[in-house]
Symmetry: C2
Subunit: 164 residues, 2 copies
């Protein structure tokens, strides 16, 4: 791997101290423990699209009642969804599911995954769903940027252990 | 759900035509078929960090040889990694694994997942790994932006079927 004095400079981000890091505390691994199951992430997709009711989640994700119930319960326990009671006239009280702030913060993950699928896996007639910015009408995408606002391609990234 | 004439305006993106869409062609679902397994995504994490050799992948992700071999083979078959021969002096030729363009395009997904894990799941002393922009030294993050370059919060997004 090409490397300069302290950091990788390859197409990959490069991580010279990789072998001093065990990944036991990896934020990616921890996040995947919570949202790394396909049915879980598809339930979140629906929540972002405004689905709130159990039967709609189950039907739109195409899972059994048992799977939907288990995954939604996990998402509530992890604090990504919150249950709220609602009642329709003449019906008993039911629970609906709403994204919490912690759940909503997964929005860049959803858009980044959708971007990639749109680009590489869509049917020849194109992706089925369009997401756009209400204020200007142009389509939204996920981008890697630095805190200064520069768009950052992979080759301009450096990675290292955060020293205490 | 609050909605204007054609699109949702809630905290969720809203998707008024949701029930006209079957999700059989969903780009998120298709992407998760490829990268929605935890060990697969952790192998990609390593590839982004510059890991190239089988034994390093296996050891750094903490999976068995059989799992590493199966997942790496899938990533090659899906075109996210490419195998390249290499040879060290006195050793037989081996294969290393490099991200393809299709694999590198998952970079915003990796950063978005890491951002979320850093924010909600890190130990009290903070996330272990830091990724920064070589040109300016500031940390990188994944953001949702529109094609005009505006940062787009979830509440300013609209979603609908892409009509042919």
């Amino acid at each position: 791997m090409t490397s300069d004095t302290t950091s990788g400079t390859a197409a990959e981000a490069g991580f010279p101290a990789r072998d001093r890091w065990s990944a036991a505390n990896c934020s990616v691994a921890r996040a995947l423990e919570v949202v790394g199951t396909r049915s879980t992430f598809l339930l979140l997709r629906e929540a972002f699209f405004g689905t709130r009711r159990f039967d709609d989640f189950r039907r739109r994700v195409g899972v059994t009642e048992a799977v939907a119930a288990a995954r939604l319960r996990e998402l509530v326990e992890e604090g990504l969804l919150a249950r709220r009671p609602y009642q329709e006239p003449g019906q008993r009280t039911r629970q609906e599911y709403r994204l919490t702030a912690k759940g909503r913060q997964l929005f860049p993950v959803l858009i980044a995954i959708m971007d990639w699928g749109d680009r590489y896996l869509a049917d020849p007639d194109g992706p089925p769903v369009r997401i756009w910015h209400a204020q200007c009408g142009s389509e939204v995408h996920a981008e890697v940027r630095c805190a200064q606002g520069h768009p950052v391609p992979l080759r301009e990234c450096r990675v290292d252990l955060r020293e205490p």
